[in-house]
């Protein structure tokens, strides 16, 4: 529900959110920005949303180029589309609490695939904006930032916006080119042309991650040879048991290379690119032998990554790291060094959590950020607006059942394994309270009342099982796992007994 703004000056017939002071500012109208705007509205927190784009959708207004999305929405499960349990099978719809606005994507997909097309995804985001009555001031580009005694000032093409709290959901879609000599002869992934224009071209793709494979997949029938090059071998998600490698959807070029079909995987570092009469020469050094290797090609595309367009945020105290210039944040997505600045959407991937066995969470993907956004907004609400999360009381005999039900079907735990958890605590007065969905790292590392957090985890052998973290005397001393189950059902007699014995002394 969007609350009324008594003093808002709407330009006559014009866009909402004129420059001025707001309680919260949200920058960006992709999935990240729209999701947090919804959560803010749901809590009744006034906020302005500005976006440089002419309409909603974020990166899905342009990418991916050739393929459908990597995230699925399965229309046919045994579950009602408006149920929470269904969220596990619909990675793409933004989350709403109102049943009639949940799972918008199945209704928009044409049924030819469980993966939406780019256009279907964009349409889904646009529909969410309409249904939820979200307001965005479009074509308002953030250009710079200042810090004042009472917060931040965002300088935009429409004027200045003031707030103590700013949530940046600006994505990680600014092309990153390596500083290789001759890189000007290469195009970036972002500038890829129509597939047919690559017919009969010898193509060299710098990068063996998803974007490089996506290009190679889309150009398999046009370009030949296609060489994919980077210092280390491609890592496939099916081998990593996570989304961290090249996804199964883009594996065709890998198979092609294995079978000698005209695609080549080259493990080498790119030293320079030179242009000559017949095309381009890419000078590389092989990783295995350290010997030079030169590829003669017609075109080079650098699928070499992206950075977050965070402009001058370092000047107001935001510390950045890594190739993509991501911010260092706490477990609720607030900048570790600039209070009041938060990051929503895919940038949340920089909060790595426990990352057990090296398996990353899904914070950078469409299904993970939706839940992180709720933790972010709850943190804003508590810290800046005095709105505390409810902690409903739980009867002792219901604790085990409630936790196991979450482990079996809570979408937060399944989409963000070993990253989000369901926690239940015992207060000093002896009452047992449901903490709801929490950051697992936040729970295990902070002191607090006795209690337990349960999540779902995968180990390095691909075994999926519930994991339990018990807090005693302010400390979580280790982890415990419950038995795995072929159909991931964890609420039977065996699991009840296991969990009961683990938490008997704190919540029994």
């Amino acid at each position: 529900m969007v609350s009324a703004r008594p003093a808002e000056a709407l330009e006559r017939g014009g866009p909402p959110f004129a420059p001025g002071r707001y309680d919260v500012l949200v920058v960006g109208s992709g999935p990240g920005g729209l999701q947090v705007s919804y959560y803010l509205s749901h809590l009744g927190i006034d906020h302005a949303v500005i976006s440089a784009d002419p309409g909603p959708g974020g990166m899905f207004r342009r990418y991916p180029f050739f393929q459908r999305l990597l995230s699925w929405t399965k229309p046919h499960t045994q579950l009602a589309h408006d149920s929470r349990a269904y969220e596990r099978y619909d990675w793409n719809s933004l989350i709403a609490f109102e049943p009639e606005h949940r799972a918008l994507m199945p209704g928009l997909m044409d049924g030819s695939s469980e993966f939406p097309s780019r256009a279907e995804m964009e349409a889904g985001l646009r529909l969410f904006v309409e249904r939820m009555g979200l307001r965005v001031r479009y074509e308002t580009a953030w250009q710079g930032t200042s810090r004042t005694d009472d917060g931040y000032v965002l300088h935009t093409t429409a004027g200045d916006y003031h707030s103590r709290v700013v949530i940046f959901a600006v994505g990680i879609a600014e092309p990153l080119l390596p500083d290789t000599p001759g890189i000007e002869h290469a195009a970036h992934y972002a500038d890829t042309r129509e597939a047919a224009s690559y017919a009969d071209k010898r193509l060299f793709i710098i990068g063996k991650q998803n974007s490089g494979f996506e290009l190679a997949s889309g150009l398999l029938q046009w370009a030949s040879p296609i060489i994919l090059a980077s210092p280390r071998p491609a890592q496939l998600s099916v081998n990593l048991h996570s989304l961290g490698g090249v996804r199964a959807r883009y594996i065709q070029p890998w198979e092609d290379a294995q079978l000698g079909g005209g695609v080549f995987m080259l493990d080498a570092s790119i030293e320079r690119i030179a242009r000559h009469a017949d095309g381009l020469a890419v000078h590389t050094r092989r990783s295995d032998t350290s010997e030079p290797f030169v590829a003669e090609v017609d075109e080079v595309i650098a699928a070499s990554g992206f950075r977050a367009p965070l402009l001058d945020l370092e000047n107001v105290g935001v510390s950045l790291f890594g190739r993509s210039g991501l911010p260092t944040m706490d477990n609720h997505y607030q900048s570790a060094t600039a209070p009041g600045i938060y990051f929503a959407g895919t940038i949340g991937q920089a909060v790595s959590g426990l990352k057990k066995y090296g398996i990353p969470a899904n914070s950078g993907a469409v299904h993970g950020h939706r839940y992180n956004g709720r933790l972010l907004v709850d943190d804003v609400a508590a810290r800046w607006f005095g709105i505390e999360r409810p902690r409903p009381e739980v009867a002792p005999e219901d604790v085990v059942g409630r936790l196991l039900a979450s482990a079996s079907s809570a979408p937060e735990l399944w989409h963000q394994k070993s990253y989000l958890a369901h926690a239940i605590s015992r207060d000093a007065d002896g009452r047992i309270r449901d903490e709801g969905i929490v950051s697992l790292a936040g729970y295990v590392d902070a002191s607090g009342p006795d209690g337990v957090a349960i999540t779902v985890e995968t180990d390095d052998e691909g075994d999926i099982h519930p994991a339990v973290y018990v807090r005693r005397r302010g400390r979580v001393d280790g982890d415990a796992r419950l038995a795995s189950s072929p159909l991931h059902e964890y609420d039977g007699v065996e699991h009840r007994a296991q969990l009961g014995s683990l938490i008997g002394d704190v919540l029994g």
Binding site: R286, S287, K356, Y357, G358, D445
Partner: protein
């Protein structure tokens, strides 16, 4: 630029002193860069699924049952003993200042050392030295 900074940082580590530039690049790509705010736990006593870390910037405290037993800083590494033994860490590692580190997934350490025997030998020397020091203190 950024990549060169990481490579220079790695080149300065005793652990990688026998690797050439292309090998360092391959190593840099195998590890992921992470950043942690001050006061953040990176390694957790008693938890499964831990990893291997090399500190690029900042300082950490090694704590056993809450007591500070050592400090580590830029160039130091930790987490390998637990991984070599297949046991959970026996200490917490907590950042004292904002830390940038390279992280290698636990299951990958063995293959990493077998791929770079020179690095394994340097690690052997490091563990030997620490064992000698521990024996002397005993």
């Amino acid at each position: 630029m950024y990549q060169a900074e990481i490579l220079d940082a790695l080149a300065g580590l005793a652990l990688f002193s026998d690797l050439d530039r292309p090998q360092l690049e391959a190593v840099a790509h195998t590890m992921s860069e992470e950043a942690f705010p001050a006061g953040q736990r990176i390694l957790r006593q008693g938890f499964s699924g831990s990893g291997f870390f090399i500190i690029l910037d900042g300082e950490v405290s090694v704590r056993v049952d809450g007591a500070d037993v050592a400090r580590l800083a830029k160039g130091d590494f930790f987490g390998e003993i637990s991984l070599l033994l297949g046991e959970p860490p026996v200490a917490d590692v907590v950042t004292l200042a904002p830390v940038k580190a390279l992280q290698l997934a636990g299951p990958d350490l063995r293959a990493f050392l077998l791929t770079y025997p020179a690095v394994m030998y340097r690690m052997l020397q490091s563990v030997s030295r620490r064992l000698e020091r521990a024996n002397r203190r005993g």
